[in-house]
Amino acid sequence: MSAIRVFVARRVITMNASTPFCTHVAVKDGRILGYGSAADVAEFGPAELDTRFADKIIMPGFIEGHGHAVEGMMWRQPYVGFYDRTAPDGTPAPGLKSIEEVVARLQAHERTLTDPAAPVVAWGFDPIFFGGRRMSVADLDRVSSTRMVLVGHVSGHIQNANSRVLEACGFSRDSNIDGLLRDTAGNLTGELQGPAVMGRASRATGDNGLMRVQDVDALMDYGRVASRVGVTTSTDLANALSEDNAASLRAATDRADFPLRLVPAMRAREYTLEAGLARIAELKRQSTAKLHFGIVKLVADGSIQGFTARLRWPGYHNGAPNGLWYIAPAEFEGIVTAYHKAGHQLHIHTNGDEASELATEMVGRAIVAHPRADHRHTLQHCQMADAAIFKRMANFGMCVNLFANHIWYWGEQHRALTMGPSRAERLDACASALAAGVPLAIHSDVPVTPVAPLFTAWCAANRLTSTGRVLGEAERITVPQALYAITLGAAYTLKMDHLIGSIDVGKYADFAVLDEDPYTVPTAALKDVKVHATVLGGAVF
């Protein structure tokens, strides 16, 4: 018989409707044995009382329902974003508030390079708060005139290149190719838009973006980043799950000091239908306590701020042409039907409202053709869905995971450029989803925005943009609803609510330990609640 450990806290928030709040949790074999008052847990027998969190708040560990473990890899390159971020080792990476600061940061990094041929590749750049000033070739040529310098924008849809990269790509002033931006004098600004020209630039520098095989060190770094903000389970929502990728995931999660449970989603488009169905069945048999295979990822459209999402009438507010489908609708239906029929769960990326409408229709057709209860197919992002789409989703038993962080990071852009004032009010419409009865999770899409579930919950509860505007006050949800969305709500969308997401008997002893009580702090301060520690399977991190 292994020992019982009882954690005592100022308050335990269980997310378990039978006993919403208590003070003690008893843990045995990495699972929750019981909870209640000191007297209640004493009835389980002799136990070691762990008082280190006695003045803290214990919650179920947070669940990042849409993240990408590639965040761990990003930190091998300098971060040049506008917002403060934290590196895996805990070092703060302060946000850079001007082009000058970005150039200085890149120059400092350049001086650390010893290989004269090494490129300078940076990530996380976001020029939208620089008063209209864009980064230029000249700015990056000041970083180096001999090395290639390539800076990725945080949205993932734009890059800035220096002269060396432009030369290596064959992009010249006199050329007229789509995706090369120019200033008013017709000179290339070095800004590259769209996968065609960006892919070429990435190849020139030897960097191939998010599609790399993740090694164990990078996964450990992601674990550190996520654990620090209270996450105990994270998806890795687009993974080829080739043999070497799966082996890395297995090796990392097998380590006792790996601080997360990982839920990788298999990218269906990496495989033919037959091969994909065989692969996901094979992977499911390899799941462990810290590595849960089973969900399948499908992408219907692109991104709204990149103008590659599929929008319904009247399209983009600034008149940009509609995005293109990533999969033809007929083929999409075939893939959805095949995985649905075989009993798997789909997580479908839909950004524009037309994509959400299409995915809902196709899931609905699959359900009518092959009735199956409790499939929990989930639309991911689903940022422009209206009440009608949410009601259909509810009727079909679908779930949603909304990109609440977008309200803060791109809400102003959506209002001004992509959606206009009316549709932006229902950007990531959490209240409409809940009103329609759609099970709700909310997410960061790390590394697109930093992982921090309390910040994501703050976004959903406050709906503030980066300039302080309240965007869609009626779509705010309450703090308890938002906290549910980052715990049990997210667990439900992963079909793991019997294992994680609340403090309940038999579940994994996964906790987020907080300095303050998120139920009692002002709603506006939710994002400022500090995460003191996490507990995974009873072990403190």
Partner: protein, 303 residues
């Protein structure tokens, strides 16, 4: 002397239009070494007897052809094909069924080792009119045709009246030549603007296909950068291609200019080269010699 540029044909068209069938047919019946980049590698279906070697991302055929998966970057795939020994005699790129093939084709303009042949867009002779009426795909299908230069109506034998289809194509892209195909069978001559001189007349009416008049213009000296750009911007839609070497500016730097349907690229090259442009267009292409003559440094700047 550098190797002559490899002809490159981009084939687009909506899902089900028959792109893969066409590629399979070309590979199986090849009389030259094709290098093919395909979007859906898994759908390539080659007779096992024809396969010389195979791995996860490429198939080498006993007839010298090779078929590879089209990755993130077209240039990457083209470079890989060009490195083969011997290199392919003709490269075919199959665009994805939902992509805009013109976005892919224009990237070939910055590749000096290739010359862009007609942008071919396949139209599903059975499903096209329904696709144009479909609430989800009509804009995609129409956009794919926007810059098409040769439209091939597939499954032509399965449709009684092709008239309405031809009228829609003419409405969307009046500049395109339109031919019909049955199954995947197609005269490989359609992959080129100009018919190879040795080829016998085709039963697929190649003479109609090759209704792409050509013109040429030879400068007498260096061109003015700004006037040349203005001339390129002023070219009518009936000019489909322009390719050739020229000197630009008082320093007389040598460039390769490649132009296709309102997009172009200059690539710096070593000189001297044989200066001159070759243009390919539709039958309505006007004489562009005066336009270019005005770009010469020696010529008087237009007022």
């Amino acid at each position: 002397m550098a190797a002559p540029p490899i002809p490159l044909t981009v084939i687009g068209g909506f899902l089900g239009a028959g792109k893969t069938t066409l590629v399979n047919h070309l590979l199986a019946n090849a009389t030259k070494r094709y290098g093919v980049l395909v979007n859906d590698f898994g759908a390539i279906n080659i007779d096992a007897a024809l396969i010389a070697a195979q791995d996860g991302a490429s198939i080498a055929l006993t007839n010298g052809c090779v078929c590879c998966s089209l990755g993130e970057d077209l240039g990457d795939g083209l470079a890989m094909l060009a490195r083969r020994d011997p290199p392919p005699e003709h490269v075919i790129v199959e665009a994805s069924g939902v992509s805009d093939p013109w976005r892919i084709a224009q990237l070939a303009l910055i590749e000096t080792g290739f010359t862009l042949e007609p942008l071919i867009v396949l139209v599903d002779g059975v499903g096209f009119l329904d696709q144009l009426a479909d609430r989800w795909v009509s804009d995609t299908v129409a956009r794919q045709l926007t810059f098409a230069e040769l439209v091939i109506i597939t499954k032509a034998d399965l449709t009684a009246d092709l008239g309405p289809i031809r009228r829609e194509i003419a409405r969307l892209r009046p500049e395109a030549r339109v031919i019909e195909a049955v199954g995947g069978a197609l005269d490989p001559a359609v992959l080129h603007f100009a018919p190879p001189p040795r080829e016998k007349p085709s039963r697929f009416a190649a003479e109609a296909v090759h209704d792409f008049p050509t013109a040429s213009w030879r400068p007498s000296g260096p061109l003015d950068r700004i006037r040349l750009r203005a001339a390129l911007e002023a070219l009518p839609k009936s000019v489909l291609r322009l390719k050739g070497f020229c000197q630009i500016g008082p320093e007389g730097e040598w460039y390769l200019l490649q132009y296709a349907a309102e997009r172009w690229a200059f690539t710096r090259v070593d000189g001297p080269q044989a200066a001159g442009f070759v243009l390919i267009g539709t039958p309505g292409m006007p004489d562009t010699a005066p336009l270019f003559a005005a770009t010469q440094l020696a010529a008087e700047a237009p007022r």
